[in-house]
Symmetry: C2
Subunit: 398 residues, 2 copies
């Protein structure tokens, strides 16, 4: 392991202990009151209160469907405790008939199961720190996962409520209590109404009660969440409490100010900048010779790589090519993609590359059918979002 690679693995966990080392040493045991069954998995907790965790990449790239206990967790507040029998989802705003729906009421609508990849807009955030430190959860490349999501089409529920003509955006508000500027707010978001109602590539947005065939876990939004395929994870609001139709985008902090690509964090930057909605194309190397990538030394010759690639969230985008370089980008080989593929889903890939003592790093990049590509570098931004530059793993070959 090179010195620069060690520094990428440094992090400060919520307890204040500085942890340095390999993935195996990074796994914190969640001790918060919110500890739930899925702590049995291999998640690496970046913070425990609130709970933010990602799987080690070697585990992540083993299956196209990510097991729930290996699925990254992104929360802004402690998991709320919600009685599913008393739970009611409110449908309000620019609708002809405001609704208050129990889970059984919701399940009167046709059930749909959709496979979709979720990823945090801050996935790979730590790579920005090489230029200047960015705040937020210090994600490596594991804040991504692919699951099946079962629920009802939000469009069906909105049709039941009768959306009025002036509605342009659909707001989501969670039942969590997020401390913010001295007060408490829910985590929230909104999405353009076209995304919800037009059903591009299937279901535009789902109200989901099951993940990978089981009821949602507390970490993933029990009893109800939204899933918005193709959009950054932050738009798929967990512990959903209300849906509001509006002429405007949501004023919630996490739509109106956070989750924007800005160089500073001044009011004018928020005004000039749109919320991030769609995912960017991204890829990472998950294993080298079947092992975690945090290896100090490789022998010259052929090495087998595995990883993931996600196309951009553009409608109809499919992965075109995944390319690998062992000579710092001077030449590129092509990886083999697995057969599993679906709209708004990642794919896994594998490749054999030949390394020599001159090889200083392994690089992966990708492009998709809609013209999106991973650039050599991306501009630094104050919140550390959308890091999708060439993914580089320093190596030492002997």
């Amino acid at each position: 392991m090179t010195a620069s690679h060690i520094s990428r693995r440094q992090m400060i966990v919520a307890s204040g202990i500085v942890v340095t080392g390999l993935f195996q040493a990074d796994r914190a045991t969640a001790q918060s009151p919110n500890t739930s069954a899925n702590d049995a998995g291999d998640l690496i907790f970046r913070t425990t209160d609130p709970r933010n965790a990602e799987p080690p990449l070697d585990k992540l790239v083993q299956s196209w469907i990510t097991p729930t206990d290996q699925f990254y967790v992104r929360s802004h507040a402690p998991n709320p405790v919600i009685d599913p029998k008393a739970f009611r989802l409110k449908i309000a705003g620019l609708v002809r008939k405001p609704l208050s729906l129990s889970l059984d009421d919701l399940k009167q609508h046709p059930e749909h199961t959709v496979t979709a990849t979720l990823t945090c807009a801050g996935n790979r955030r730590i790579e920005f720190n090489k230029q200047a430190k960015v705040g937020g959860v210090q994600w490596e490349a594991g804040a991504i996962g692919n699951a099946t999501w079962t629920g009802v089409a939000l469009a069906d529920v909105l049709k039941q409520a009768g959306v009025q003509d002036g509605a342009r955006h659909i707001w989501f508000d969670g039942l969590d209590d997020v401390p913010h500027e001295g007060g408490i707010i829910p985590f929230g978001a909104s999405v353009p109404i076209e995304k919800v109602m037009e059903g591009e590539q299937g279901i535009g947005a789902l109200l989901v009660y099951a993940m990978n065939g089981e009821p949602l876990t507390p970490d993933h939004g029990f009893p109800l969440r939204t899933i918005v395929p193709g959009y950054i994870g932050a738009r798929s609001v967990k512990w959903l409490g209300s849906v509001t139709a509006s002429a405007e985008t949501s004023p919630n902090h996490y739509l109106a100010t956070a989750y924007k690509v800005v160089t500073k964090t001044d009011p004018i930057d928020w005004s000039e900048t749109a919320p991030i909605y769609r995912n960017v194309i991204n890829a990472a190397i998950g294993t080298i010779e079947g092992q975690a990538v945090a290896q100090a030394k490789l022998s010259a010759g052929t090495v087998a790589l595995k990883g993931y690639v996600m196309p951009s969230g553009l409608v109809g985008a499919k992965v075109d090519k995944v390319q690998l370089s062992v000579d710092s980008g001077k030449s590129w080989g092509v990886a083999e993609l697995t057969n599993e593929e679906d709209a708004y889903c990642w794919r896994l890939w594998k490749a054999n590359v030949t390394v020599t003592p001159q090889s200083k790093e392994l690089i992966v990049r990708a492009n998709d059918s809609k013209g999106a590509f991973m650039p050599a570098r991306v501009p630094w931004n104050a919140k550390g979002y959308l890091q999708n530059s060439w993914y580089r793993v320093p190596i030492e070959v002997i």
Copy 2:
């Protein structure tokens, strides 16, 4: 000139004639009823009705201040004929005291002269056509210019009117008549109120009546226009007729839908995407050995290059480095910048590079003090905006 270079110079002018060749052959004589004095310059008309023209790059890079008759012209409708004595600027919307101001009324406020570079968001649009044809004015790299602008601070005028607390955006509407979807609309824009009122790096936005020390010409907005330093040219509205304070961004087509970076042109793309406000960093090569760059052959050895570079519109951005490559980006030399420099202004640069028969192209790229850089390539977008990839000139060296 190589074959690929010839194709870059192909264009269809408004008359429908396909013109192919060097800059010298491209200069159309404006024959529209709007012909004005500045047609005496060297402008190349891309369309004549409306009037859209850019200077040849070899002329453009001769001076830091661009002479008015060599300044690019971007219009969406015929130049309106406005009687300056009868002219009144309306200040309306969320203000305590709506105003109707003559030019003399405006000039009661302190006069300011600001040097600022304007550039069209579509500058270098034709380079996108290599991937897939984009509509709009087929700009080469000349849709940029630097001038002095004399007028009054918009902030002073808005203080006179008394902006109400709820105002977040300032709308500008022109007096031109733009045909749009079967009707007529003005060209319009809006900018966040912070840009207008905070006076970052001097004047946030100006109401301008003189350019380069002379009254505005009809092509540049006589008798009054806005200038918004650091923002794309489309926000500097010509033939300004009204200023409106609002809680929302302008609903005008040119703010709400056009001038956005989208991959398609569907309603959801407009909803998901913010208007373009700030300029991106950009640069181009203007001359080789003092001549226009459209040369077929060069002799091996040293050649002298000149060009322009504009930092991004980020507050405080200064050009850091301009770099040149003769080996397709494998290695880079550094250009020398001229002394002239001001906030939101371009700079000129010069460099000597050594070309060999292996040199297939000259490339320039740049970066600025705020972390902005010209990338190797930019994703295609449906309207052809913000082309700021490495600027490449194919060459043949003998």
